[in-house]
Amino acid sequence: MSVSSNPVTVNIGPQHPSTHGVFRLKVEFDGEEILDLEPVFGYLHRGTEKLAEERNYSQVITLTDRLDYTASMTNNQAYVLTCEKLGQIDVPERGLYLRVIAAELQRVAAHLMATGFLLQDMGAMGTPLMYCFRERERILELFEMLCGARITNSYMRIGGVFYDAPESFWPALRQFLAEMPEYIDEYESLMTGNEILLGRTKGVSSLSIEDIVNASISGPMLRAAGLSWDVRKSDPYDIYSSLDFEVPVGTQGDVYDRYWVRLQEMRQSLSLVEQCVSRIPQGPVRAEVPLIFRPPEGDAYVPIEAPKGELGFYIVSDGGISPYRCKIRAPSFINLTLLKEMLIGRKMADLVVILGSIDINMGEVDR
């Protein structure tokens, strides 16, 4: 007896528990197996690039908060770095240190969120997610001390940061730095050795370095495949060239390696923050930049290493008060390039895990 089966098309998203926002995949299933898929973007398109042309340079900072809302600090950083390059502004050193502290804390927070949701997609009933959010909450409290907001920070300004950290920030930060490695150990003992997790993640969506580089994928996905490429090392911005840190790399480029790379990057980020705290000089935090900032005519692109990959703003100035053009290189969007290669032939359950390991953020994908 032979059984014939017809492929079934299923719309995964735009409202689905684990597409991390309003991402839609039209997937053709044969039973549980994925035959074909077509991603549909744009449900969260807010026209950030166009809006930036309508606003003056300082106002655009608030727009960048809302790109990747799990990592506002790094978005701010990428934008103000580009503006500073346009206007050739020298930032006071204390401002640079504060920026790096904020950005690295943000990297820890974003990776905690990515790891928590990866495990949530794997069906771990929210326990790792709650643990990750417990620590993320503390980082957000630190951000609230720095700049009065937890998610949409708008902390950085062209020429530095908006204001110096309050006195109570430093003891809280030191306490956090002392306690956080223990919590990372806890995640490791909860998850890393778990046989179910290993079975679910190992060998799933392995990609070769060639494929990844050809698709211009960056961030933890690239490093998981084994290429040690980090903008903080290859093209240092702010004060990264004077700081000492390692770039963890994986071997296979599968989901497990991405998860592992993120955990290790959290440790490296904590050590970076520690170095900054011990070295931070006194002084002003913000260069004298007028509120209505008019850079000379020209263009600039500065890439930074955001938690999700290489984030860059390409800004063209016509000498006016607002950008003539503001192009955003969003890592989440470009990291989705190899979706078909990763997903076709896999199971339904792998789909959500792979999406979780890419760590997309629809605010950034659709912009």
Binding site: G123, S228, W229, V247
Partner: protein, 398 residues
């Protein structure tokens, strides 16, 4: 006049005498049936009361596992939360999707709930506290328990939703796979007890059977968790994959009935584990026997919640592999082992019990380790990539 199957039932006798004392003489002919009905009502409602309590307990404990508090607003310690949930579900709009098969769609919750309630009949809650001592109780459980899948499949099929259909298909696949190791591990218990009656199985255990058949217990609890659709085998309603599985389209109290049936099946399943492997209601005499049953039952429930709080879900092919490649050989080993031991020591005394226990624990450890190594060699070996000391840096950008 009494139903004959209840004649030796102590619970029935006490209810009968109470009703007989109250009832006027001319109604003597129906006292037996009134007593039987009262007994059924009592036990059925007991389960219906325990299930919301279990939902509350699970949510509180799960909350504490996750460093939160869980529901604590309604009533003392949030005990009235399930009632609040039920009221909310009842007053919600009942939506039947356009593409649904209305009759099947509406019938599915009832059909899912019925077998759970039927299974309650044979659980011995206390030494003298059970509805009926069926002589084919184990067979009855397996037969009736299988019906649940029909309800799930009806719900998934009738919804006209592809997520629901996927959940239903997964449900049937899992039932077919996990029924086999479940029954084989029960066969070893039946060999030991020489009876299918749950009351007799409890009586025939010199020590809790978990100490004598650890392998059987492992297989049974794993298969039961899979049959109950609990994490880590909750593929049927894997909310991160197929939204809510078979009850995606259900709303209002129909959804509530699904939830109730699901949690009631955990209550009942934990009751069977308690009766079969933990010596049921037996215990020292300073507590009444239902209290012992409840304590053991709570311990089983706690372990199930604990597992749910910790483990990620397994993939669908891994679920099948776990049943066929891992649990089935283990249950076969267990069955053969128990059979051989029953031949060597037909009626074991104290020292021989020790011997049996030790041998079985050793075999269980060796069998699990060997099988897991053979199967997990490819997938489960931990790998920790190293942080390179010398960093390779890509080409400079800009």
């Amino acid at each position: 006049m009494s139903p004959s199957v209840l004649e030796n039932n102590a619970l029935y006798q006490s209810i009968y005498s109470a009703i007989n004392w109250v009832m006027p003489d001319f109604l003597d002919s129906i006292v037996g049936y009134a007593a039987a009905f009262a007994m059924v009502m009592l036990v059925a409602n007991l389960v219906l009361v325990i299930t919301p309590l279990f939902i509350w307990f699970e949510r509180r404990i799960l909350g504490r596992f996750q460093q939160r508090l869980g529901p604590n607003r309604w009533g003392p310690f949030g005990l009235l939360q399930p009632i609040a949930d039920a009221i909310k579900l009842i007053i919600k709009e009942d939506i039947v999707p356009r593409g649904a098969d209305r009759l099947v769609f509406n019938a599915a919750p009832v059909i899912l709930f019925m077998p759970v309630m039927l299974m309650v009949a044979v659980i011995p809650f206390g030494t003298q506290f059970y509805l009926v001592d069926l002589n084919v109780a184990v067979l009855y459980i397996i037969a009736v328990g299988t019906l649940e899948t029909i309800g799930i499949f009806m719900a998934g099929w009738a919804s006209g939703n592809r997520y629901a259909l996927m959940g239903a298909v997964r449900s049937v696949a899992m039932l077919v796979s996990y029924e086999v190791p479940l029954v084989m591990s029960l066969a070893a218990v039946l060999l030991w007890a020489g009876s299918m009656s749950l009351v007799e199985i409890v009586d025939k255990q010199p020590v809790p059977l978990i100490l004598l058949q650890p392998l059987g217990f492992f297989v049974f609890i794993a298969a039961t968790i899979a049959e109950m659709n609990r994490a880590p085998f909750d593929l049927i309603e894997a909310e991160s994959e197929i939204v809510a599985g078979y009850h995606t389209e259900y709303s209002g109290m129909k959804f509530g009935v699904f939830q109730l049936a699901e949690f009631a099946s955990v209550v009942v399943g934990a009751g069977f584990i308690t009766a079969i492997f933990l010596k049921g209601a037996a215990g020292w005499s300073f507590l009444p026997s239902p209290a012992w049953f409840s304590l053991k039952w709570l311990a089983v429930i706690f372990c199930i919640i604990w597992i749910r709080a910790t483990l990620p879900r397994v993939r669908v092919d891994q679920v099948m592999a776990f049943a066929w490649k891992f649990l089935l050989p283990l249950s076969a080993i267990n069955l053969i082992l128990v059979a051989v031991e029953m031949v060597i020591w037909p009626s074991p005394n104290g020292a021989q019990l020790w011997m049996i226990g030790l041998i079985n624990f050793a075999v269980a450890a060796v069998a699990i380790a060997v099988l897991a190594t053979a199967l997990g060699h490819r997938n489960f070996a931990p790998r920790s990539p190293q942080i390179p000391t010398s960093t390779v840096v890509g080409e400079k950008v800009v």
